[in-house]
Every structure is written in structure tokens, then in C-alpha cells.
Amino acid sequence: MYRPVSRTASSLLLLLVVILAPVPGGGASANNREEGIQVPNPGTDLWREVRKRQQPPLAGVKPPLNGAPGVDLWMEIERSKLSPVGSTQVKSVDSGTLINPFGDEWRRFRMEWLVPYGGYAVAGMFLLVVLFYLIRGRVPIHAGPSDKRLPRYTVYERMIHWFIAAIFLFLALTGLTMLLGRSLLIPLIGAEAFSLLASASKEGHNLFGPLFLLALALIFFRFVRRNIYQRGDLTWLLRGGGLIGSRHVPSNFFNMGEKSMFWMLVLVGGVTAVSGVILVFPVLGQGREIMALSHVAHAITALTMILVIIGHIYIGSVGMEGAIEGMTTGYCDLNWAREHHDWWAERCENNGEVITVEEAFEAEGFTPGAPKHHRPAGETAE
């Protein structure tokens, strides 16, 4: 059976893995692997011996004195693994370390959990969204589109939204290419073409990564005040955002779901970004264990974000009538606001912020070339 050998690092990893998906462990496949070795191999023999010895000795039983000459030595190495054990003329990262047992754990995580389940999760989310659309259809504006508009997002807010959106999409696509490409793309386009694609993805991913941190900071400072949980959010959660039952749950500028997405993005995305930075700069002298751990954190948090963002994109585009206008034009339909953000809509109406479609149209600066007194009558903002 497989058991953690590295102390802090592996318990952290184990915790993450357990949280991520409680699917029965990889012991079986580990055994398969060992069975696969038929040829005598001193190196592996040694390694296997170390592993065996690692298990607490049974009471009263001493290891054989002269079992294998190297084993005691490698045992020693293994025991004091966390302190620099070796000295060597070769100066590079971890060059004094003889064995990196965490590597095997990381391998197991990547190959047996991350790649298959990550792939299934992304595909499943797509399927879920399609299914949801087929069953539930597009959420309409029940009162129908109105000819009134409310200003919803300023130019700056729309800018930083699409800024982070563009960066996120690029990072997600390049990231997934590197994660799933070996299984999905190499059979299709061959290893050489994929190598080119993967290299481009890697370089692009590395370069755009730090921008995500910047975009995240801009988003955080701009939207944090509107995303503080308030009374009524619990009701929203309990009624599943209106999914349970047909009644709408009142909400403010952002509803409970949007607020949660914001905090998810900030917290989870923050972890993704910071762990990404650790991975981007291998020259800072961080060891393999830190990098492998960062990779674990990076992958799990990024996948979480991808799943949530797929839902976000769905509900913001085809999933709901009138949802995307706020982010494209800056103005939203009054009826949409009343139906989805009624507290906010009411406040705006009381403040006299309601304007007509035509006014919104002009303020947006659409249709270059035509001054307003010659704009065809009856033309709408669509």
C-alpha cells in the first residue's frame, strides 16, 4: 500500500486530495507498476527496500543485519531528508538531495487524479450547462424587454471585466492544452505538432499569468464593496437563487451567487496566481517540493475556477435574457433589473437614474458617423 513518506508536504497534499475527490486510492495501480518490473535492477531494489524499511518495524523484530549493503545508507538519507544531507560539487537546485520521495506522490496526483478527473470535470460541466439549457431554457425577462434602461457598469468596470475575462480565457485554454493535450491532442495532431502548440501555450501561459494577478487586484478593489454579504443573501442561498420554486428571490446590485463567485475568484484565483508565480520563476531557488506543491494548488484552484466560470459565462450569455447588456453597453433593461436585482433597481428608480433606450443609445456612442438628429427613428440599442 501507498503511504506518505514526506512529512509536511505529503500531509498537505493528502489533505488537498482528500478534499478534492474522495475516490478510492491509487494503491492498485501502484502494485501493477511494481509487478511490471521483471528485470533485476539494483537501483530499484534499493529504492523498494528503503520503502519497506520505512514502515515501523514490528515489535521485537529487527531488520536483518546484512540484508542489503546499500539499504542502511539510503535509509539514513531518507530519514534526514528534510535537512540538507549531502554535499556535492554540483551546485544546483536540490543537488544535495539524493531522493525526492515527494516526486512519486506528485506523479500519482497528476496522472491518476488531475488529468482524468480534471478532464471529466470540465467536460461534465459543459454537458451540465447544455443539459440545463435544454431542460430549463433561456431565463426570459418575464415582463418583457422595456424601453427603459438603468446604468449598471461604468466604462472602467466593463474594461477591467473584459480585461480579466480575456486573460482568464487565454490562461484557461493554454493551461488545459498543457494538462489534457497528451491524452486528447497527441492522438489527433501528433507529438511534433503538439509539442509546438504546448510550447506556445507554455510561453503564453507564463507571460500572461502575472497579468491575471494584476487584473484580479483591479477587480477586487473595484467590486469588493458591492460584494459584501448582507441580509437576504441567506434566503437566496436557501432557495437556490430562485431555482427552487418559481418565485424570485430579492437581491441587491449583486445577488448571493454573484457575490460568492466574486469571493471564489478572489480567494481561489489568488491562490492560483501566487502558486503560478512560484512556478513561473524556477530561477528563484525554490526546491522541487515547493514547486510540485504549487503545481498541485495551481491545478486544483484553476480547475475550480474554470468550472465556475463556465457556469458564469453560460448564465451571463445564453442562459439569461438581458444579462449581458450591462457588461457590453453599460446599461441594463429596467425590467431585467427589477426581476433580478430588485432592491438595487428600486434604489435607482428612486434616485431617478432611469433613462430611455434612446438616451442610453446616445450615451454609449454607438453608430459612428451619424449625429443624433439624423439618426433613423425607432432604431434600438440592439
Binding site: 446616445e362 450615451a363 458617423g369 449625429p371 438628429h373
Partner: protein
């Protein structure tokens, strides 16, 4: 002025296009080549800032000129024209842009100061107005002002008789003699009709100041009007005619200096555009009244006693300061006669226009818009918390007064020359 034979609309548009074509010089071409449509000029324009209307973006007001330039000065534009993808300027373009060109631009030049590419938008708008004038798409109010100036000598219809009556009144009040048509005088002064009608205090003040400084000066009975509606409308011929009157009169009297009064466009017209309009240099020099006062003071010919401690600020008239270059003289004078003088934010070359420049104050239909964008001035004055505003342009003065009244503000507007006269050492 429209040609007699160009009654036909098509002819007029063709003439306007020809004019626009002629107006495109190396400067204009480099400007349009440089513009990256960044939109920063909009942030400097009070019409955009106060209304948030994107159409009031300064560079957008030049769209007809840009269209023509693109078609005739760029490869892609010419290609488009050959392929029939784009047509030339139509009457519709002139009709559509008349409001943007005349109602929503004061030619104040603030946008030209901030463009990161260094584009002088005002320079081009002034040129574009020449074409609009030929197309006939000109606001009636401005057209009439020009016609009146050409017919009667003054946009407000002020005749020599009116002036003489005012002068007689002033002579009586001050006990001074105001010299008219005195040959060999050193200085000849012009007035704006606004001063004759609304602010005779100005004339009285310069009479007293010149007397105190023992200046040899005169007024010409043939040309005393300084304002030049031709510049505002974009009528080269009209502007030339008006400038020639003053130049001829001055040269006839043989003066050494011509004094431009407290009027914005008058200064631009006579000082900067005049020589180009008549095609030669003058035989005299043009000085602005503020420059002259500052100079007299520096030379010690003008002495002040006491100063006003009322908190006051200066409204820089665009055409005198930003577009005219008389930046320091008003400040030097104010520091002498007003101890309570404070600069507002965005002063001197970056001051906000009163909203009435560039002929907008003569354009009745633009009044609502003009009052709306006056909100910018209102905020500027409120920020500073000063109740007295000094200015040096009769047009600014009347527009400020109207705007302040509209917004029910208590702020007082006074002329700088009057203020100087008040603290003259007798």
C-alpha cells in the same frame, strides 16, 4: 458671404468642398495622420465634460474635414474612392455637422493644449468654418452679426453717432477730452461694440489711465470697431474687410501702435490673423490693452495707490491668453491692484472657456447648450469660493454675467482695466 451665382445648393457644396480642400495644408495633414482617436481631447472640452455627449469630442467635430483628407491624402482613402466605396462630402455632412462646428465649439483651444500627439484642433476647426460658411450652413445669429458689421461697422449696429454720444457722456463725467482722429498720435485704440453699449466704464477707464500716463492716443472715426465676426463665422472676405478698415484708419493717422481692447476675438483677428488676411505686415504694431498697461506700469508711467483686498480670481479669456499669448500682463497688474487675487484651478493657458467664445454668444439657438456647459465655470468658481471674477474680455464678461444669473449665483464680474483705473494714483 455667398457668391451671387452660387445660389444653387450643389454649387455651394462644391465651393465649400473646394475651400475645405484648399484649407488642408501640411499642418492639417500631419494632424490627421497623427490622430489615433484616443479621445483625450474630449476630456479637455467643456462641451463634452458637462454633457457627457460623445459627439462633442473636439476631433469628432472635424469629421467632414477628416473625411475629405482621408479621401484625397491617404492611399486607402483614394483606393476607396476609386472603387466607389466612399463618396465625397455631401450636403448632409454639412447639415449634420453645423451644430457641432458652430454651436458646440468656442474655438477656445483647450483641446489643442492636451492632445498627446500635439494636434491643434482649434486651428483646423477655424479652417473648417471657412468651408461651412461657403456651404451656407451657418447659424443665422452669427451670419447676421457679420452682415451688420460689414453694413454698419459694428455687429451690434453701433454707429459713430452712438460712440460719440457715449464719449461725450464720458468727457462730461471725467472732465477729460477724448481725442478723435488726431493725426500723429502714438496710439490708436479700438473698442468692441459691447464696450460702447454695455461697458462704457471701460472707455472711461482707459481715458483716465492714458491721461494719467500722459499717453498720446486717439480714436479713429473711420474705424473704431475691434470685433471681427468674420473670423468667427469663417468668412475670409468678411474678416479681411473688417481688419482692413482698422489697418487703413491706423495707417492713415500714422500711429505707431494700435491698441486691441478687452475683447478676445478682436485680438486674435487684428494681432494674429490680420496680416495674413490682408497679405502684408502693418506699418504699426498691435498691442493688447493689458500688455500696454503692464508696460506703462513697468516703465513707471503708471502708478497705483492702494489695492483691493476683496478675494477675487481671474477668468482668462481664451483668445487673449491661451490663443493670444498675453499670459503674464493680467497677472502682473492684478498682483498690484488686488491683494486678494487668487488663481483658480486650471488657470492661464488651461482655463475653462466661458462658453460664449467663437461666436456662440451671438448664436441664439445655442443658448441652452451654452448655459448648460457654463456649469463647468460654476463648479470652478464654487471650488475656489471667490465671489469676484476679473476678466479682460467684454464678451466673456457678458456671458459670465448671464451664466451666473442663470445659476442664481452672487458672483460679481469686473473688467481688469476698470480695476486698474480704480487704483490709479492721481
Amino acid at each position: 458671404m455667398r457668391d451671387a451665382g452660387a445660389d444653387n445648393m450643389n454649387d455651394r457644396i462644391a465651393a465649400a468642398c473646394d475651400e475645405l480642400r484648399r484649407q488642408i495644408d501640411a499642418r492639417v495633414s500631419s494632424y490627421f495622420s497623427s490622430c489615433v482617436h484616443c479621445g483625450l481631447c474630449a476630456e479637455a472640452c467643456h462641451f463634452h465634460v458637462e454633457t457627457d455627449d460623445p459627439r462633442y469630442t473636439p476631433i469628432y467635430k472635424l469629421e467632414p474635414m477628416r473625411k475629405l483628407w482621408r479621401q484625397e491624402h491617404t492611399l486607402l482613402g483614394r483606393l476607396g474612392a476609386v472603387l466607389g466605396r466612399s463618396s465625397g462630402l455631401s450636403e448632409r455632412d454639412f447639415a449634420d455637422w453645423e451644430e457641432l462646428v458652430y454651436d458646440s465649439c468656442n474655438l477656445c483651444g483647450r483641446c489643442s493644449m492636451v492632445c498627446p500627439l500635439g494636434i491643434d484642433i482649434t486651428y483646423m476647426l477655424r479652417k473648417q468654418r471657412e468651408a461651412f460658411n461657403l456651404s451656407g450652413y451657418v447659424p443665422d445669429g452669427m451670419q447676421k452679426a457679420l452682415e451688420r458689421t460689414l453694413d454698419t461697422g459694428s455687429p451690434m449696429g453701433v454707429t459713430l453717432k452712438t460712440l460719440k454720444a457715449t464719449l461725450a457722456h464720458i468727457e462730461k463725467a471725467t472732465g477729460l477730452t477724448i481725442p478723435i482722429d488726431r493725426e500723429g498720435a502714438e496710439y490708436m485704440t479700438l473698442f468692441s461694440s459691447m464696450e460702447v453699449v454695455n461697458f462704457p466704464e471701460y472707455i472711461e477707464s482707459i481715458a483716465r489711465i492714458f491721461d494719467a500716463a500722459a499717453l498720446s492716443w486717439t480714436i479713429s472715426s473711420e474705424a473704431f470697431e475691434a470685433t471681427n465676426a468674420g473670423i468667427q463665422v469663417g468668412s475670409r472676405d468678411g474678416a479681411k474687410e473688417i481688419v482692413s478698415r482698422a489697418v487703413d484708419a491706423a495707417e492713415k493717422l500714422g500711429v505707431k501702435y494700435l491698441i486691441s481692447p478687452e475683447c478676445g476675438h478682436a485680438y486674435t483677428a487684428i494681432r494674429w490673423e490680420g496680416p495674413n488676411l490682408i497679405g502684408r505686415r502693418y506699418k504699426f504694431e498691435v498691442v493688447h490693452i493689458l500688455e500696454l498697461l503692464d508696460q506703462l506700469h513697468r516703465e513707471g508711467r503708471l502708478k497705483f495707490s492702494g489695492s483691493s483686498d476683496t478675494p477675487m480670481t481671474l477668468h482668462d479669456p481664451c483668445q487673449i491668453v491661451r490663443r493670444g499669448g498675453v499670459v503674464e500682463p493680467p497677472r502682473n497688474l492684478l498682483h498690484k491692484v488686488a491683494s486678494g487675487f487668487v488663481e483658480s484651478t486650471d488657470h492661464a493657458a488651461m482655463n475653462w472657456c466661458c462658453g460664449g467664445g467663437g461666436g456662440v454668444s451671438a448664436n441664439e439657438r445655442a443658448e441652452a447648450l451654452r448655459l448648460k456647459v457654463f456649469g463647468r465655470k460654476k463648479k470652478q468658481f464654487e471650488e475656489l469660493g471667490v465671489d469676484t471674477v476679473v476678466t479682460a474680455c467684454a464678451n466673456c464678461r457678458i456671458v459670465l454675467e448671464e451664466g451666473l444669473e442663470h445659476y442664481e449665483m452672487e458672483t460679481q464680474v469686473i473688467g481688469l482695466t476698470e480695476l486698474v483705473a480704480e487704483y490709479l494714483e492721481q
